[in-house]
Protein backbone atom coordinates (compact mmCIF):
# COMPACT_ATOMS: atom_id res chain seq x y z
CA UNK A 1 0.00 0.00 0.00
CA UNK A 2 1.30 3.39 -0.91
CA UNK A 3 0.74 6.64 0.80
CA UNK A 4 1.26 9.77 -1.19
CA UNK A 5 3.49 12.29 0.46
CA UNK A 6 2.59 15.97 0.39
CA UNK A 7 5.24 18.11 -1.24
CA UNK A 8 8.48 18.20 0.70
CA UNK A 9 9.69 21.54 -0.52
CA UNK A 10 6.74 23.52 0.79
CA UNK A 11 7.58 23.96 4.44
CA UNK A 12 5.31 21.64 6.30
CA UNK A 13 4.67 23.67 9.42
CA UNK A 14 4.83 21.58 12.56
CA UNK A 15 1.94 23.61 13.98
CA UNK A 16 -0.45 22.28 11.32
CA UNK A 17 -3.23 20.09 12.58
CA UNK A 18 -1.78 16.72 13.67
CA UNK A 19 -3.07 14.00 11.40
CA UNK A 20 -4.45 10.64 12.34
CA UNK A 21 -1.40 8.35 12.27
CA UNK A 22 0.35 10.57 14.75
CA UNK A 23 -1.85 9.22 17.52
CA UNK A 24 -0.37 5.79 16.95
CA UNK A 25 2.79 6.78 18.75
CA UNK A 26 0.85 7.08 21.94
CA UNK A 27 -0.30 3.48 22.07
CA UNK A 28 3.10 2.47 23.37
CA UNK A 29 3.66 -0.49 21.04
CA UNK A 30 7.46 -0.76 20.74
CA UNK A 31 8.80 -0.65 17.20
CA UNK A 32 12.32 -1.57 18.24
CA UNK A 33 13.45 -3.47 21.31
CA UNK A 34 17.13 -4.00 21.90
CA UNK A 35 17.89 -6.07 24.97
CA UNK A 36 21.30 -6.58 26.54
CA UNK A 37 23.09 -5.90 23.26
CA UNK A 38 26.85 -6.38 23.10
CA UNK A 39 29.02 -6.25 20.00
CA UNK A 40 32.76 -6.60 19.49
CA UNK A 41 34.67 -5.89 16.31
CA UNK A 42 37.56 -8.22 16.38
CA UNK A 43 38.54 -8.15 20.01
CA UNK A 44 37.52 -4.58 20.70
CA UNK A 45 34.14 -4.28 22.38
CA UNK A 46 32.03 -1.65 20.63
CA UNK A 47 28.67 -1.94 22.37
CA UNK A 48 28.21 -3.09 25.94
CA UNK A 49 24.89 -4.28 27.29
CA UNK A 50 22.69 -1.78 25.52
CA UNK A 51 18.99 -1.74 26.40
CA UNK A 52 16.87 0.48 24.21
CA UNK A 53 13.20 0.65 23.33
CA UNK A 54 11.80 2.85 20.61
CA UNK A 55 8.05 3.29 20.51
CA UNK A 56 6.20 3.13 17.20
CA UNK A 57 6.07 6.59 15.67
CA UNK A 58 8.87 7.90 17.81
CA UNK A 59 11.89 9.74 16.47
CA UNK A 60 15.12 8.93 18.28
CA UNK A 61 18.48 10.57 17.70
CA UNK A 62 21.78 8.95 18.64
CA UNK A 63 24.58 11.28 19.62
CA UNK A 64 28.07 10.70 20.86
CA UNK A 65 31.72 11.11 19.96
CA UNK A 66 33.32 9.22 17.08
CA UNK A 67 33.75 5.58 17.96
CA UNK A 68 30.99 5.65 20.56
CA UNK A 69 29.15 2.85 18.76
CA UNK A 70 26.37 4.78 17.03
CA UNK A 71 26.79 3.15 13.64
CA UNK A 72 27.14 -0.29 15.20
CA UNK A 73 23.98 0.17 17.23
CA UNK A 74 22.05 1.25 14.12
CA UNK A 75 23.54 -1.70 12.24
CA UNK A 76 22.30 -4.04 14.96
CA UNK A 77 18.83 -2.51 14.82
CA UNK A 78 18.45 -3.25 11.12
CA UNK A 79 20.22 -6.60 11.28
CA UNK A 80 23.42 -6.01 9.27
CA UNK A 81 25.54 -6.46 12.39
CA UNK A 82 25.04 -9.63 14.35
CA UNK A 83 25.42 -8.91 18.05
CA UNK A 84 27.78 -11.09 20.09
CA UNK A 85 25.04 -11.39 22.65
CA UNK A 86 21.64 -9.85 23.24
CA UNK A 87 18.72 -9.57 20.87
CA UNK A 88 16.96 -7.02 18.71
CA UNK A 89 13.33 -7.33 17.80
CA UNK A 90 11.48 -5.16 15.30
CA UNK A 91 7.71 -5.03 15.67
CA UNK A 92 7.90 -8.15 17.79
CA UNK A 93 9.97 -10.16 15.29
CA UNK A 94 13.68 -10.94 15.26
CA UNK A 95 15.62 -8.28 13.36
CA UNK A 96 17.02 -10.86 10.97
CA UNK A 97 13.58 -12.11 10.04
CA UNK A 98 12.73 -11.36 6.40
CA UNK A 99 9.25 -10.00 7.17
CA UNK A 100 10.76 -7.64 9.71
CA UNK A 101 13.31 -6.48 7.14
CA UNK A 102 10.58 -5.54 4.72
CA UNK A 103 9.47 -2.91 7.25
CA UNK A 104 12.90 -1.34 7.60
CA UNK A 105 14.66 1.26 5.50
CA UNK A 106 18.36 1.76 6.16
CA UNK A 107 20.90 4.26 4.86
CA UNK A 108 24.33 3.50 6.22
CA UNK A 109 27.48 5.55 6.11
CA UNK A 110 28.21 4.23 2.65
CA UNK A 111 25.61 5.66 0.26
CA UNK A 112 24.69 2.18 -1.02
CA UNK A 113 24.13 3.43 -4.56
CA UNK A 114 25.46 1.85 -7.75
CA UNK A 115 27.67 4.50 -9.33
CA UNK A 116 27.04 3.26 -12.88
CA UNK A 117 23.26 3.55 -12.58
CA UNK A 118 21.30 6.78 -12.43
CA UNK A 119 19.59 7.99 -9.28
CA UNK A 120 16.25 6.99 -10.75
CA UNK A 121 17.46 3.49 -11.66
CA UNK A 122 18.90 3.02 -8.18
CA UNK A 123 15.63 3.99 -6.54
CA UNK A 124 13.56 1.89 -8.92
CA UNK A 125 15.78 -1.14 -8.35
CA UNK A 126 15.53 -0.80 -4.60
CA UNK A 127 11.78 -0.32 -4.82
CA UNK A 128 11.46 -3.46 -6.90
CA UNK A 129 13.45 -5.48 -4.39
CA UNK A 130 10.96 -4.42 -1.73
CA UNK A 131 8.01 -5.16 -4.01
CA UNK A 132 6.73 -1.58 -4.32
CA UNK A 133 3.76 -1.30 -6.68
CA UNK A 134 3.81 1.25 -9.55
CA UNK A 135 7.41 1.85 -8.74
CA UNK A 136 8.16 4.12 -11.71
CA UNK A 137 5.51 6.72 -10.85
CA UNK A 138 6.32 6.47 -7.17
CA UNK A 139 10.02 7.14 -7.74
CA UNK A 140 9.27 10.01 -10.13
CA UNK A 141 7.12 11.59 -7.46
CA UNK A 142 9.78 11.14 -4.78
CA UNK A 143 12.43 12.72 -7.00
CA UNK A 144 10.13 15.59 -7.92
CA UNK A 145 9.29 16.29 -4.31
CA UNK A 146 12.97 16.49 -3.47
CA UNK A 147 13.84 18.73 -6.43
CA UNK A 148 16.09 16.05 -7.84
CA UNK A 149 14.38 15.59 -11.19
CA UNK A 150 17.08 17.41 -13.15
CA UNK A 151 19.80 15.15 -11.75
CA UNK A 152 17.74 11.99 -11.71
CA UNK A 153 18.93 10.51 -14.97
CA UNK A 154 22.63 11.13 -14.63
CA UNK A 155 24.81 8.29 -13.32
CA UNK A 156 25.29 8.55 -9.58
CA UNK A 157 29.05 8.79 -10.17
CA UNK A 158 28.48 12.24 -11.67
CA UNK A 159 26.40 13.60 -8.80
CA UNK A 160 27.79 15.81 -6.06
CA UNK A 161 28.27 14.37 -2.57
CA UNK A 162 25.21 16.21 -1.30
CA UNK A 163 23.02 14.98 -4.14
CA UNK A 164 24.23 11.43 -3.57
CA UNK A 165 23.39 11.71 0.11
CA UNK A 166 19.87 12.87 -0.72
CA UNK A 167 19.39 9.97 -3.10
CA UNK A 168 20.78 7.58 -0.48
CA UNK A 169 18.25 8.81 2.09
CA UNK A 170 15.45 8.52 -0.46
CA UNK A 171 16.60 4.99 -1.27
CA UNK A 172 16.07 4.02 2.36
CA UNK A 173 12.52 5.39 2.21
CA UNK A 174 11.43 4.26 -1.21
CA UNK A 175 9.33 1.39 0.14
CA UNK A 176 7.63 3.46 2.87
CA UNK A 177 9.14 1.47 5.72
CA UNK A 178 7.64 1.46 9.18
CA UNK A 179 11.10 2.02 10.59
CA UNK A 180 13.60 4.40 9.01
CA UNK A 181 17.20 4.07 10.20
CA UNK A 182 19.68 6.67 8.99
CA UNK A 183 23.36 6.82 9.88
CA UNK A 184 24.49 10.45 9.90
CA UNK A 185 22.09 11.49 7.17
CA UNK A 186 23.15 15.14 7.33
CA UNK A 187 26.87 14.43 7.14
CA UNK A 188 27.39 15.60 3.56
CA UNK A 189 24.45 18.00 3.28
CA UNK A 190 24.55 21.79 2.98
CA UNK A 191 22.11 24.10 4.77
CA UNK A 192 19.40 23.62 2.17
CA UNK A 193 19.98 19.91 2.32
CA UNK A 194 19.59 19.87 6.08
CA UNK A 195 16.30 21.74 5.76
CA UNK A 196 15.17 19.22 3.20
CA UNK A 197 16.11 16.39 5.54
CA UNK A 198 14.29 18.05 8.43
CA UNK A 199 11.07 18.38 6.48
CA UNK A 200 11.42 14.80 5.24
CA UNK A 201 11.85 13.44 8.75
CA UNK A 202 9.03 15.62 10.05
CA UNK A 203 6.78 14.09 7.46
CA UNK A 204 7.89 10.60 8.39
CA UNK A 205 6.77 11.35 11.93
CA UNK A 206 3.49 12.75 10.69
CA UNK A 207 2.88 9.47 8.92
CA UNK A 208 3.59 7.51 12.05
CA UNK A 209 6.89 6.08 10.78
CA UNK A 210 9.48 5.36 13.42
CA UNK A 211 12.82 7.08 12.85
CA UNK A 212 16.24 6.40 14.35
CA UNK A 213 19.17 8.46 13.20
CA UNK A 214 22.71 9.28 14.27
CA UNK A 215 23.94 12.83 14.13
CA UNK A 216 26.56 15.23 15.45
CA UNK A 217 24.31 18.24 15.00
CA UNK A 218 22.87 19.18 18.39
CA UNK A 219 20.41 21.74 17.04
CA UNK A 220 19.07 19.29 14.49
CA UNK A 221 18.58 16.59 17.10
CA UNK A 222 16.83 19.03 19.41
CA UNK A 223 14.31 20.03 16.77
CA UNK A 224 13.68 16.67 15.17
CA UNK A 225 13.97 13.98 17.80
CA UNK A 226 11.58 13.01 20.56
CA UNK A 227 14.47 11.58 22.51
CA UNK A 228 18.20 12.00 22.25
CA UNK A 229 20.24 8.97 23.26
CA UNK A 230 23.79 9.84 24.24
CA UNK A 231 26.29 7.07 23.61
CA UNK A 232 29.85 6.93 24.81
CA UNK A 233 32.33 4.05 24.65
CA UNK A 234 29.58 1.62 23.77
CA UNK A 235 27.22 2.52 26.60
CA UNK A 236 24.12 4.68 26.84
CA UNK A 237 25.21 7.46 29.17
CA UNK A 238 22.15 9.70 29.03
CA UNK A 239 18.72 9.97 27.44
CA UNK A 240 17.65 13.58 26.94
CA UNK A 241 14.25 14.86 25.90
CA UNK A 242 14.40 16.44 22.46
CA UNK A 243 12.04 18.63 20.49
CA UNK A 244 12.07 21.87 22.43
CA UNK A 245 10.04 23.91 19.98
CA UNK A 246 6.51 24.85 20.98
CA UNK A 247 4.59 23.33 18.11
CA UNK A 248 4.93 19.91 19.64
CA UNK A 249 4.52 20.82 23.26
CA UNK A 250 1.19 18.99 23.26
CA UNK A 251 3.03 15.80 22.59
CA UNK A 252 5.31 15.92 25.55
CA UNK A 253 2.41 16.68 27.83
CA UNK A 254 0.52 13.69 26.47
Amino acid sequence: MLRSFPSVTSEAAPSSVPSGPRESRLDGRPAVTAANLSVAYGRVPVLREIDLQVAAGECVALMGPNGAGKSTLLGCLVGVVRPACGEVSLFGKNARNRDARRQVGFAGQEPGLYAELSARENLIFSGRMYGVQNVNQHVSRLLEESNLTSAADRPVAQLSQGMRQRVAVLRAMVHQPQLVVLDEPSARLDTAGKQWLASLLTRCRDHGQTVCFASHDVAQCRTLADRIVQLDAGRIVAIDPGRVHDGDAWLRSA
Partner: protein, 228 residues
Protein backbone atom coordinates in the same frame (compact mmCIF):
# COMPACT_ATOMS: atom_id res chain seq x y z
CA UNK B 1 2.64 -14.29 -4.78
CA UNK B 2 5.81 -15.15 -2.86
CA UNK B 3 7.13 -17.18 -5.77
CA UNK B 4 6.25 -14.46 -8.27
CA UNK B 5 8.07 -11.84 -6.24
CA UNK B 6 11.07 -14.19 -6.02
CA UNK B 7 11.22 -14.68 -9.79
CA UNK B 8 10.78 -10.97 -10.42
CA UNK B 9 13.48 -10.08 -7.90
CA UNK B 10 15.82 -12.57 -9.56
CA UNK B 11 15.15 -10.91 -12.91
CA UNK B 12 15.77 -7.41 -11.60
CA UNK B 13 18.91 -8.44 -9.74
CA UNK B 14 20.42 -9.97 -12.87
CA UNK B 15 19.29 -7.02 -15.00
CA UNK B 16 20.91 -4.62 -12.56
CA UNK B 17 24.22 -6.52 -12.72
CA UNK B 18 24.17 -6.67 -16.51
CA UNK B 19 23.35 -2.96 -16.73
CA UNK B 20 26.28 -2.15 -14.49
CA UNK B 21 28.64 -4.35 -16.48
CA UNK B 22 27.52 -2.85 -19.77
CA UNK B 23 28.20 0.68 -18.53
CA UNK B 24 31.49 0.09 -16.71
CA UNK B 25 33.24 -2.31 -19.00
CA UNK B 26 36.43 -2.80 -17.00
CA UNK B 27 35.75 -6.11 -15.25
CA UNK B 28 34.45 -8.25 -18.05
CA UNK B 29 36.65 -6.70 -20.68
CA UNK B 30 39.78 -7.40 -18.66
CA UNK B 31 38.58 -10.99 -18.39
CA UNK B 32 38.14 -11.21 -22.18
CA UNK B 33 41.52 -9.63 -22.80
CA UNK B 34 43.28 -12.01 -20.42
CA UNK B 35 41.57 -14.89 -22.22
CA UNK B 36 42.79 -13.65 -25.58
CA UNK B 37 46.34 -13.20 -24.30
CA UNK B 38 46.29 -16.76 -22.98
CA UNK B 39 44.92 -18.03 -26.30
CA UNK B 40 47.73 -16.22 -28.09
CA UNK B 41 50.38 -17.64 -25.77
CA UNK B 42 49.05 -21.18 -26.13
CA UNK B 43 48.74 -20.86 -29.89
CA UNK B 44 52.26 -19.52 -30.30
CA UNK B 45 53.85 -22.20 -28.12
CA UNK B 46 51.89 -25.19 -29.37
CA UNK B 47 53.92 -26.41 -32.33
CA UNK B 48 52.76 -30.02 -32.58
CA UNK B 49 51.34 -32.36 -35.21
CA UNK B 50 47.51 -32.11 -35.37
CA UNK B 51 46.65 -35.39 -33.61
CA UNK B 52 48.91 -34.56 -30.66
CA UNK B 53 47.52 -31.07 -30.57
CA UNK B 54 43.98 -32.43 -30.29
CA UNK B 55 45.20 -34.48 -27.35
CA UNK B 56 46.33 -31.50 -25.24
CA UNK B 57 44.24 -28.61 -26.53
CA UNK B 58 41.18 -29.40 -24.38
CA UNK B 59 43.14 -29.03 -21.17
CA UNK B 60 44.79 -25.83 -22.31
CA UNK B 61 41.46 -24.36 -23.43
CA UNK B 62 39.85 -25.01 -20.05
CA UNK B 63 42.88 -23.77 -18.20
CA UNK B 64 42.64 -20.48 -20.11
CA UNK B 65 38.89 -20.28 -19.51
CA UNK B 66 39.16 -20.85 -15.76
CA UNK B 67 42.09 -18.51 -15.35
CA UNK B 68 40.38 -15.67 -17.17
CA UNK B 69 36.99 -16.61 -15.76
CA UNK B 70 38.29 -16.40 -12.21
CA UNK B 71 38.38 -12.63 -12.74
CA UNK B 72 34.64 -12.61 -13.40
CA UNK B 73 34.03 -14.93 -10.45
CA UNK B 74 36.01 -12.72 -8.12
CA UNK B 75 34.21 -9.65 -9.42
CA UNK B 76 30.71 -10.98 -8.85
CA UNK B 77 30.40 -10.03 -5.18
CA UNK B 78 33.42 -7.75 -4.90
CA UNK B 79 31.46 -5.38 -7.12
CA UNK B 80 28.81 -5.02 -4.43
CA UNK B 81 31.41 -4.40 -1.77
CA UNK B 82 33.33 -1.86 -3.87
CA UNK B 83 30.19 0.10 -4.66
CA UNK B 84 29.45 0.33 -0.94
CA UNK B 85 26.24 -1.62 -1.52
CA UNK B 86 26.99 -4.72 0.53
CA UNK B 87 24.72 -3.77 3.42
CA UNK B 88 21.86 -2.76 1.16
CA UNK B 89 22.38 -5.96 -0.84
CA UNK B 90 22.34 -8.12 2.28
CA UNK B 91 19.23 -6.39 3.62
CA UNK B 92 16.87 -6.87 0.67
CA UNK B 93 13.93 -8.93 1.85
CA UNK B 94 14.61 -11.79 -0.53
CA UNK B 95 16.05 -15.19 0.39
CA UNK B 96 19.88 -15.34 0.50
CA UNK B 97 19.73 -18.31 -1.86
CA UNK B 98 18.03 -16.06 -4.41
CA UNK B 99 20.76 -13.44 -4.12
CA UNK B 100 23.27 -16.27 -4.58
CA UNK B 101 21.43 -17.55 -7.63
CA UNK B 102 21.38 -14.11 -9.22
CA UNK B 103 25.14 -13.80 -8.87
CA UNK B 104 25.69 -17.33 -10.17
CA UNK B 105 23.60 -16.58 -13.25
CA UNK B 106 25.42 -13.30 -13.91
CA UNK B 107 28.77 -15.08 -13.60
CA UNK B 108 27.50 -17.79 -15.94
CA UNK B 109 26.68 -15.13 -18.51
CA UNK B 110 30.20 -13.73 -18.15
CA UNK B 111 31.77 -17.18 -18.59
CA UNK B 112 29.57 -17.92 -21.62
CA UNK B 113 30.70 -14.63 -23.14
CA UNK B 114 34.31 -15.58 -22.45
CA UNK B 115 33.87 -18.95 -24.14
CA UNK B 116 32.19 -17.36 -27.14
CA UNK B 117 35.40 -15.40 -27.64
CA UNK B 118 37.93 -18.02 -26.54
CA UNK B 119 36.76 -21.07 -28.46
CA UNK B 120 36.96 -19.29 -31.85
CA UNK B 121 40.26 -17.76 -30.78
CA UNK B 122 41.64 -21.24 -30.05
CA UNK B 123 40.30 -22.57 -33.34
CA UNK B 124 41.93 -19.74 -35.27
CA UNK B 125 45.20 -19.42 -33.38
CA UNK B 126 45.89 -23.11 -32.67
CA UNK B 127 44.07 -24.61 -35.63
CA UNK B 128 42.20 -27.36 -33.76
CA UNK B 129 38.87 -28.73 -34.98
CA UNK B 130 36.69 -27.72 -32.01
CA UNK B 131 33.83 -26.75 -34.30
CA UNK B 132 32.58 -30.12 -35.70
CA UNK B 133 30.83 -31.13 -32.47
CA UNK B 134 29.18 -28.01 -31.10
CA UNK B 135 26.46 -29.68 -29.03
CA UNK B 136 28.68 -31.92 -26.83
CA UNK B 137 31.09 -29.02 -26.42
CA UNK B 138 28.17 -26.83 -25.35
CA UNK B 139 27.09 -29.42 -22.77
CA UNK B 140 30.59 -29.57 -21.31
CA UNK B 141 30.81 -25.77 -21.25
CA UNK B 142 27.42 -25.18 -19.62
CA UNK B 143 27.98 -27.73 -16.86
CA UNK B 144 31.53 -26.55 -16.24
CA UNK B 145 30.44 -22.91 -16.08
CA UNK B 146 27.71 -23.65 -13.59
CA UNK B 147 30.08 -25.41 -11.19
CA UNK B 148 32.77 -22.77 -11.50
CA UNK B 149 30.30 -19.90 -11.12
CA UNK B 150 28.78 -21.46 -8.00
CA UNK B 151 32.12 -21.97 -6.24
CA UNK B 152 33.39 -18.65 -7.59
CA UNK B 153 30.46 -16.76 -6.10
CA UNK B 154 31.02 -18.26 -2.66
CA UNK B 155 34.76 -17.54 -2.77
CA UNK B 156 34.13 -14.03 -4.04
CA UNK B 157 31.72 -13.39 -1.19
CA UNK B 158 34.24 -14.63 1.37
CA UNK B 159 37.16 -12.63 0.02
CA UNK B 160 35.23 -9.48 -0.97
CA UNK B 161 36.07 -7.44 2.11
CA UNK B 162 39.78 -8.22 2.18
CA UNK B 163 42.67 -6.06 1.03
CA UNK B 164 44.62 -8.87 -0.60
CA UNK B 165 41.49 -10.35 -2.11
CA UNK B 166 42.25 -10.78 -5.80
CA UNK B 167 45.28 -13.02 -5.28
CA UNK B 168 43.53 -14.96 -2.54
CA UNK B 169 40.35 -15.49 -4.52
CA UNK B 170 42.19 -17.06 -7.44
CA UNK B 171 44.39 -19.13 -5.12
CA UNK B 172 41.38 -20.54 -3.34
CA UNK B 173 39.25 -20.96 -6.43
CA UNK B 174 41.60 -22.89 -8.69
CA UNK B 175 42.29 -25.88 -6.37
CA UNK B 176 38.60 -26.13 -5.59
CA UNK B 177 37.64 -26.32 -9.28
CA UNK B 178 40.29 -28.90 -10.17
CA UNK B 179 37.63 -31.62 -10.60
CA UNK B 180 35.88 -29.38 -13.15
CA UNK B 181 39.09 -28.61 -14.99
CA UNK B 182 40.01 -32.32 -15.15
CA UNK B 183 36.56 -33.44 -16.28
CA UNK B 184 36.07 -30.66 -18.82
CA UNK B 185 39.54 -31.23 -20.25
CA UNK B 186 39.09 -34.99 -20.51
CA UNK B 187 35.60 -34.68 -21.98
CA UNK B 188 36.89 -32.25 -24.60
CA UNK B 189 39.80 -34.53 -25.44
CA UNK B 190 37.44 -37.49 -25.86
CA UNK B 191 35.01 -35.60 -28.06
CA UNK B 192 37.87 -34.48 -30.31
CA UNK B 193 39.35 -37.95 -30.64
CA UNK B 194 36.39 -40.18 -31.41
CA UNK B 195 32.77 -41.16 -30.76
CA UNK B 196 31.14 -40.30 -27.43
CA UNK B 197 31.60 -43.43 -25.36
CA UNK B 198 30.71 -44.32 -21.79
CA UNK B 199 33.94 -42.72 -20.62
CA UNK B 200 32.73 -39.38 -21.95
CA UNK B 201 29.46 -39.75 -20.10
CA UNK B 202 31.37 -40.50 -16.89
CA UNK B 203 33.03 -37.11 -17.10
CA UNK B 204 29.73 -35.41 -17.91
CA UNK B 205 28.22 -37.06 -14.86
CA UNK B 206 31.04 -35.77 -12.69
CA UNK B 207 30.56 -32.26 -14.08
CA UNK B 208 26.84 -32.43 -13.32
CA UNK B 209 27.41 -33.72 -9.79
CA UNK B 210 29.91 -30.93 -9.18
CA UNK B 211 27.56 -28.25 -10.48
CA UNK B 212 24.62 -29.63 -8.48
CA UNK B 213 26.59 -30.03 -5.23
CA UNK B 214 28.02 -26.53 -5.26
CA UNK B 215 24.83 -24.81 -6.34
CA UNK B 216 23.13 -26.43 -3.34
CA UNK B 217 26.02 -25.87 -0.91
CA UNK B 218 26.32 -22.24 -2.03
CA UNK B 219 22.60 -21.57 -1.70
CA UNK B 220 22.65 -23.05 1.82
CA UNK B 221 25.82 -21.29 2.96
CA UNK B 222 25.20 -17.91 1.36
CA UNK B 223 23.39 -16.62 4.41
CA UNK B 224 26.67 -16.91 6.32
CA UNK B 225 28.64 -15.38 3.48
CA UNK B 226 26.48 -12.26 3.53
CA UNK B 227 26.90 -11.57 7.23
CA UNK B 228 29.19 -8.75 8.22
Amino acid sequence: MQARHAVQSLYWLIRKDLQREMRALHAWSSMLLLGLVLAFLVGSQLVLPPEQKAHVIGGLLWLAIFFAGSLACEHSLASERDAGCWQAFALYPVAPSLLFLSKVITTNIALALLELVLVPAFVVLSDVPLAPRPVPLLVVALLGNLGVAAIGTIVSGLTAGLKQRSGLAVLLLLPLVIPVILSAAEATRLLLSGPLDSQWWTWIRLLSVFAAVFTVVGALAFEYVLEE
